[in-house]
C-alpha cells in the first residue's frame, strides 16, 4: 500500500472509530473495545506512514479535487508533518486504552459513548491538520478539531466548572479561528492560491508578511497556549476527564506549534525580529507558566500550567531556528528546529504520562487537591513509579527525554554567543540558556512538590486513605509512555538525522549544510548516553554494596521506627509540610504577578478552637485582563446600542445591504481573487 493511502486509512479509521460502539448498543464493553481497537489500528497505520515518509527521499503527497472554493483534498507528509503525526495519533490511542478502565461505557453509558466518538473524531481531525497541504482543508479540519475539543471539555456538562471552562475555551477557539481565517485569506492573496505548495517560498516583505506572522502568532498562539493567550487552558484541562486532558495537553496544543512552524516555513529569509519575538515570548511563557504552576493546589491545573511552560520552551527553540534562518546560520537552524520538534514529541509523551497518572490518582481518591493527598506510593506503587519517570522527564533531568531536547535548546542558544562570519550574531539570544536553567530548576521544584505531596509521606485525608492501585488498562498506556521517555532519553542521537532532514525541508537550507551540525550533535548525544550508562552503573554498584553490607550485618533486618521528630513519637499527618508550604518561598518571589483569593481565619484567644487558611491563585490573564476587558466592552456596547438599530428588521436590512455592497464591489473590481 502506498504511504498516502495508509495515511488516509489512518485518518478515516480514527475519525469513525467511536461510531463502532453504536453497532453493538447492548454490549457496551465490547463496543468500547472495538472503538479502541479501531483507534489503535489507525494509529499504527498512520505511524507506519509517518516513519515511511521520514525514510522516503521525497515527501509522499496526494491531491484530489474538492468542490470548496479554493480548496483541494491535498495531503503531504514532509518531515515536519511526519514528526507531528506520530504523537498526534499515538497519544490518543493510548488515551483510549486508558479510557477502557477510566471511563467505561458499561458504567457511564451514553456520556462515555459520546466521549469516545468525539475522541476519535478529534484524533482524525488533528491528523488531517498536520498533514493537509491546502489552506481550506486545513481550516476545515482545524474547525472540526476545535469544536470536537469543546464537546470533550464539557463531557461533565452538568458541572458548573466544566460549563465555564467550556465556554471560555469555545470563545478563545473562535477568536483563534477568526485570526486564522484572516491569515489564510492574506496568504492566499500573496500566493494566489490556497495550496501550500504555492505559498512556499514567499518573500518576507514588510507589510503583508508581518500581518500574516502577527495573525499566525495570535491564532496559533491561542491554540498552543502561549502566554498571555493561555487563559483558557488551565480551566479546560482541569475540567475535562484525564485522558482528554492528556490528549489536549499532549497533542492538541501542539497543532498550534505545528501551524506556527508551517507558516513561518512558507517565507524565505524571515526577518530576525520574528525569531527574536518568538524567543522572548517563549521565555516569558516558560517562566510565568512554571511560576503559576508552583502556586496551584489542583494537580491538573498545575499540569496545565506546565504545558504553558513547555510550549514556551518549544517556542523559544522555534525562535532560535528562525534567528538562524535570518542570519543564514545552518547549524543554528538545525539545533533550534530539532530542539523544537523533539521537545514537541517529548512533551507529548511525558505530559500525557503525567495527566494519565494524575487521572489514576483522581480516580482512586476522588479529589484533585494535592494538599488532601499524600502517601499514595503505598497504595498505588506502580502509578507512583511511573509518575516519577514523567516528573523527572518534565524537569529536564538526565537521562530522560526532557533533558535531550532541552540540551538542544541550550546548544542553540549558546551558539549565538560566538561571532561567526561577517553577519553580526544576535548575542542576546544567549540569555536563553540561563532562562532555561531557571525554568528547569523551578520545574524540578514543582515536581518535587507534586510527587512529594501526592505520593510520599503520610496520607492527609480520608481521600488518600481510600486509594487503590490503578487497573492494568490504565497502567499499560502509562508504562508505554514512560518507556518512550526513557528510550528517547537514552538514545536521542538516533533521531537527529531524521530531524536534520525535516529541518532542511522546513528551512530550505541545503541538506548537506545540516549534515555536519547533525553529526556533531549526534556524537555529543552518544556521550550523553555513555554518561547515563555510567550513572546507572554507579547506582547499581552502590545498591549492591549496600545490600552486601546489610546482609553481612549480624543485627538482622533494619529496624522500622517512626520518622525522627525531635523525640516526639506520635506525629500526625497534619504535621507534615504541605505542598503549598513547600512552594511558598518560590511563589513569594512571583507575588507581583499573582492576585490570590485568600480566606484566612487566624487562631484567636488563649485556647484557639479552629483556624483556617485557604489561598488559591487564579489565572491573572483571565481574571485581571480578559474578563474585565470583555465586561467593559459589553458595558460600552450596551450604551452604544440604540433602540432603532436593535430591531430585528433593521438588522436584517443592514446585513442584506452589506452583502449587496460587497458583491457589487467584487463584480466591479473584477471578480473573486481566485
Amino acid at each position: 500500500m502506498t504511504l498516502p493511502a495508509l495515511l488516509i486509512a489512518a485518518i478515516v479509521l480514527t475519525s469513525v472509530s467511536g461510531l463502532l460502539a453504536l453497532a453493538v448498543p447492548r454490549r457496551p464493553a465490547l463496543g468500547q473495545a472495538l472503538a479502541c481497537a479501531a483507534l489503535c489500528a489507525g494509529a499504527v497505520l498512520g505511524s507506519v506512514a509517518a516513519v515511511g515518509a521520514l525514510l522516503a527521499p521525497v515527501p509522499p503527497a496526494l491531491t484530489l479535487p474538492w468542490g470548496a472554493p479554493g480548496g483541494a483534498l491535498a495531503l503531504r507528509l514532509d518531515g515536519l508533518s511526519a514528526f507531528f503525526l506520530i504523537p498526534v495519533l499515538v497519544v490518543p490511542a493510548l488515551g483510549s486504552v486508558y479510557g477502557l478502565a477510566y471511563f467505561p461505557q458499561a458504567r457511564l453509558g451514553r456520556k462515555a459513548v459520546r466521549l469516545q466518538i468525539l475522541f476519535g473524531l478529534v484524533t482524525g481531525a488533528m491528523a488531517l491538520v498536520v498533514t493537509s497541504a491546502n489552506g481550506m482543508l486545513f481550516l476545515a479540519a482545524w474547525e472540526v478539531m476545535a469544536l470536537g475539543c469543546f464537546f470533550l471539555v464539557i463531557t461533565h456538562h452538568e458541572e458548573r466548572e466544566a460549563q465555564r471552562a467550556g465556554f471560555v475555551y469555545l470563545a478563545s477557539a473562535h477568536a483563534a479561528n477568526l485570526a486564522l481565517f484572516a491569515m489564510f485569506a492574506l496568504l492566499a492573496r500573496l500566493a494566489g492560491s490556497f495550496d501550500f505548495a504555492a505559498m512556499t517560498g514567499l518573500r518576507a516583505a514588510w507589510g503583508p508578511a508581518t500581518a500574516v506572522f502577527v495573525l499566525a502568532l495570535a491564532g496559533f498562539g491561542l491554540k498552543a497556549g502561549l502566554l498571555p493567550l493561555h487563559f483558557w487552558l488551565p480551566g479546560a484541562h482541569a475540567a475535562a476527564p484525564s485522558h482528554v486532558s492528556a490528549l489536549m495537553s499532549g497533542v492538541v496544543l501542539k497543532t498550534g506549534i505545528y501551524g506556527l512552524l508551517r507558516v513561518t516555513g512558507f517565507f524565505e529569509a524571515p526577518p530576525a525580529s520574528w525569531g527574536a519575538l518568538l524567543l522572548a515570548g517563549g521565555a516569558v511563557s516558560a517562566v510565568m507558566g512554571v511560576a503559576f504552576a508552583l502556586a496551584q493546589h489542583d494537580v491538573k491545573r498545575l499540569l496545565a500550567y506546565h504545558s504553558v511552560e513547555n510550549i514556551g520552551i518549544i517556542v523559544m527553540a522555534a525562535g532560535l531556528a528562525l534567528l538562524g534562518r535570518a542570519r543564514g546560520d545552518a547549524a543554528l537552524v538545525f539545533l533550534g528546529f530539532a530542539a523544537a520538534v523533539l521537545h514537541v514529541v517529548n512533551h507529548a509523551t511525558f505530559k500525557a504520562l503525567l495527566f494519565l497518572g494524575a487521572g489514576a490518582v483522581v480516580h482512586a481518591t476522588g479529589t484533585r487537591d494535592m494538599d488532601l493527598l499524600g502517601g499514595l506510593a503505598r497504595a498505588m506503587p506502580r502509578t507512583a513509579a511511573l509518575f516519577l519517570v514523567g516528573a523527572a522527564a518534565i524537569s529536564g533531568l538526565p537521562p530522560l527525554n526532557g533533558f535531550a531536547s532541552e540540551w538542544l535548546v541550550y546548544l542553540a542558544s549558546l551558539r549565538t554567543v560566538y561571532d561567526l562570519g561577517p553577519v553580526p550574531h544576535p548575542h542576546f539570544a544567549a540569555l536563553g540558556a540561563p532562562v532555561l536553567a531557571f525554568v528547569g530548576s523551578l520545574a524540578a521544584a514543582c515536581f518535587v512538590k507534586v510527587h512529594g505531596t501526592v505520593f510520599l509521606g503520610h496520607g492527609r485525608s480520608r481521600h488518600a486513605a481510600a486509594a487503590h492501585e490503578a487497573r492494568p488498562a490504565m497502567l499499560v498506556p502509562m508504562l508505554v509512555l514512560a518507556a518512550a521517555c526513557v528510550v528517547i532519553g537514552l538514545f536521542p542521537a538516533a533521531l537527529l538525522p531524521a530531524l536534520a532532514g525535516a529541518a532542511a525541508q522546513w528551512s530550505r537550507v541545503a541538506p548537506e549544510a545540516l549534515v555536519g551540525p547533525a553529526a556533531s550533535a549526534g556524537a555529543s548525544a552518544v556521550r550523553v548516553s555513555v554518561t547515563a550508562a555510567a550513572l546507572a552503573a554507579v547506582v547499581l554498584g552502590a545498591w549492591l554494596l549496600r545490600r552486601h553490607l546489610l546482609r553481612r550485618g549480624p543485627l538482622g533486618p533494619p529496624p522500622q521506627v517512626e520518622t525522627w521528630g525531635c523525640g516526639y513519637s506520635r506525629p500526625t499527618a497534619r504535621m507534615q509540610y504541605t505542598g503549598s508550604s513547600l512552594a511558598d518561598a518560590l511563589v513569594g518571589s512571583f507575588r507581583w504577578a499573582f492576585f490570590p483569593h485568600r480566606r484566612v481565619l487566624p487562631p484567636r484567644g488563649v485556647f484557639p478552637r479552629r483556624a483556617l487558611y485557604r489561598a488559591t491563585v487564579p489565572d491573572t490573564a483571565l481574571e485581571r485582563g480578559i474578563v474585565p476587558a470583555l465586561a467593559w466592552t459589553a458595558r460600552m456596547a450596551g450604551r452604544a446600542r440604540s433602540r432603532l438599530l436593535g430591531a430585528v428588521q433593521v438588522q436584517a436590512l443592514l446585513l442584506a445591504g452589506g452583502l449587496v455592497a460587497l458583491l457589487l464591489w467584487l463584480a466591479l473590481g473584477g471578480g473573486a481573487p481566485w
Binding site: 502517601g375 548575542h427 540561563p434 536553567a437 554507579v538 552502590a542 529496624p559 520518622t563 525522627w564 525531635c566
Partner: protein, 306 residues
C-alpha cells in the same frame, strides 16, 4: 600508552579518593581559626567507614524512594565527575555542551535527595527540601551565566575546553570579566554545597538547617553515601573554581596535577577562612545573594560581548 592512560584516569581517581580529605582540610582550617587542635585530617574517612559498618534504621513511613535517593545522588555526582577536568588531563568524557549535562546531573542529585526527604513525612525534612529547591532555582541561572561567559571568553562548549591551557593569556586580556565570573562562581559553589553564608554544615538545630535536615532520617550506609556524595560535589565545584583561577597547562600532566591539588588545598583554606569569619545570612537574604551573583556574571558576559 600506560602512562597516558594513567594520566587520564588518575585525576578522576584523585577526585574519588581525595574528596573526603578536602572536607577534612576545611574542618582543620576552621579549628585552627577557632584555636582548637581539631579533628585529624583523615577524620572524614573514619566517619565513612564507621557509618558503612552500622545498621541503618528506616522510618515506617518511607518507601523505596527514600532508599533510592542516596544512591541516585551519588551516581549523578560521580557521572558529573566524568565531565570535569581535574588538572593534568582533559575530562574522561568531554564533549561540546557537556557542562549542561554537568549542571543537570547535579540537579538530578538534588531532585533525588529532596524526594527522599519528603518521603519521611517529616516537617523538618519538608522545610529542608523546600529551602534546597528554592535556593537551587536562584543558583542555577547564576551558574549558567558564569558558564555562558566562559563559553564566550574561550570559544569552547565543553568544560575541558573552557578550562584549557589558554586561560593565563585570557586572564591578562579579559581579567575583570573573568574575575566577576569567578566571584559569582564562588558564591554559587558556597550555595550549592550548603556552606556558610548560606547554610552551616555543623549546625545542630533542625529548624535552621538546609542540606543536613534533609538527611535527618538517613543512617548507616545510606548516610555514608550521602556524606561521600556531598564531599564529591564540593570537590567538583572546588575544581571548577581552582581551574578557572589558576589556568595552568595540560601539556605536562604530572606537574599540572600537582599544581591542581595544591590549588585545591588553597581552596580548602579559603573555604575554611570564609566559614570562620562570616556569619550565616538570614534565610530570606539567600536568594538576594544568589541574584547578586547572577548580576555579577551578567556583567561579566556584557564585558565579554562588548
Amino acid at each position: 600508552m600506560v602512562t597516558r592512560l594513567a594520566a587520564a584516569v588518575l585525576p578522576f581517581l584523585a577526585f574519588l579518593g581525595l574528596s573526603p580529605l578536602l572536607l577534612g582540610a576545611v574542618t582543620r582550617v576552621k579549628s585552627l581559626f577557632a584555636g582548637r587542635t581539631g579533628a585529624p585530617l583523615l577524620q572524614p574517612y573514619h566517619d565513612l567507614r564507621r557509618l558503612l559498618g552500622k545498621q541503618p534504621v528506616y522510618s515506617r513511613t518511607t518507601t523505596w524512594v527514600f532508599r533510592a535517593g542516596p544512591l541516585v545522588g551519588l551516581g549523578a555526582v560521580v557521572a558529573a565527575g566524568l565531565l570535569m577536568s581535574f588538572g593534568g588531563a582533559p575530562a574522561l568524557l568531554p564533549f561540546p555542551g557537556d557542562f549542561i549535562l554537568f549542571a543537570s546531573l547535579l540537579g538530578l542529585s538534588r531532585f533525588a535527595t529532596a524526594l527522599a526527604a519528603l518521603d519521611t513525612g517529616s516537617s523538618f525534612e519538608g522545610m529542608g527540601a523546600a529551602r534546597e529547591v528554592t535556593f537551587a532555582a536562584f543558583a542555577e541561572p547564576a551558574l549558567f551565566l558564569c558558564l555562558v561567559a566562559l563559553v564566550r571568553a574561550t570559544g569552547s562548549l565543553s568544560l575541558s575546553g573552557m578550562l584549557r591551557e589558554g586561560l593565563p593569556e585570557l586572564w591578562r586580556a579579559q581579567g575583570p570579566a573573568l574575575l566577576l565570573a569567578a566571584t559569582a562562581l564562588v558564591v554559587v559553589a558556597l550555595a550549592e554545597n550548603a556552606r556558610i553564608p548560606v547554610d552551616d554544615p555543623t549546625t545542630h538545630l533542625e529548624l535552621t538547617m538546609i542540606h543536613e535536615v534533609m538527611v535527618l532520617d538517613h543512617s548507616g550506609p545510606d548516610l555514608a553515601v550521602i556524606h561521600y556524595a556531598a564531599s564529591l560535589k564540593l570537590f567538583l565545584f572546588g575544581a571548577l573554581v581552582v581551574r578557572l583561577a589558576l589556568g595552568f597547562p595540560f601539556s605536562s600532566p604530572w606537574p599540572s596535577l600537582g599544581v591542581f591539588l595544591g590549588g585545591m588545598a588553597l581552596f580548602a583554606t579559603a573555604l575554611g577562612a570564609i566559614e570562620s569569619t562570616m556569619a550565616r545570612l538570614r534565610l530570606d537574604r539567600v536568594p538576594q545573594l544568589l541574584v547578586a551573583a547572577s548580576v555579577l556574571a551578567l556583567f561579566a558576559l556584557v564585558l565579554l560581548l562588548r
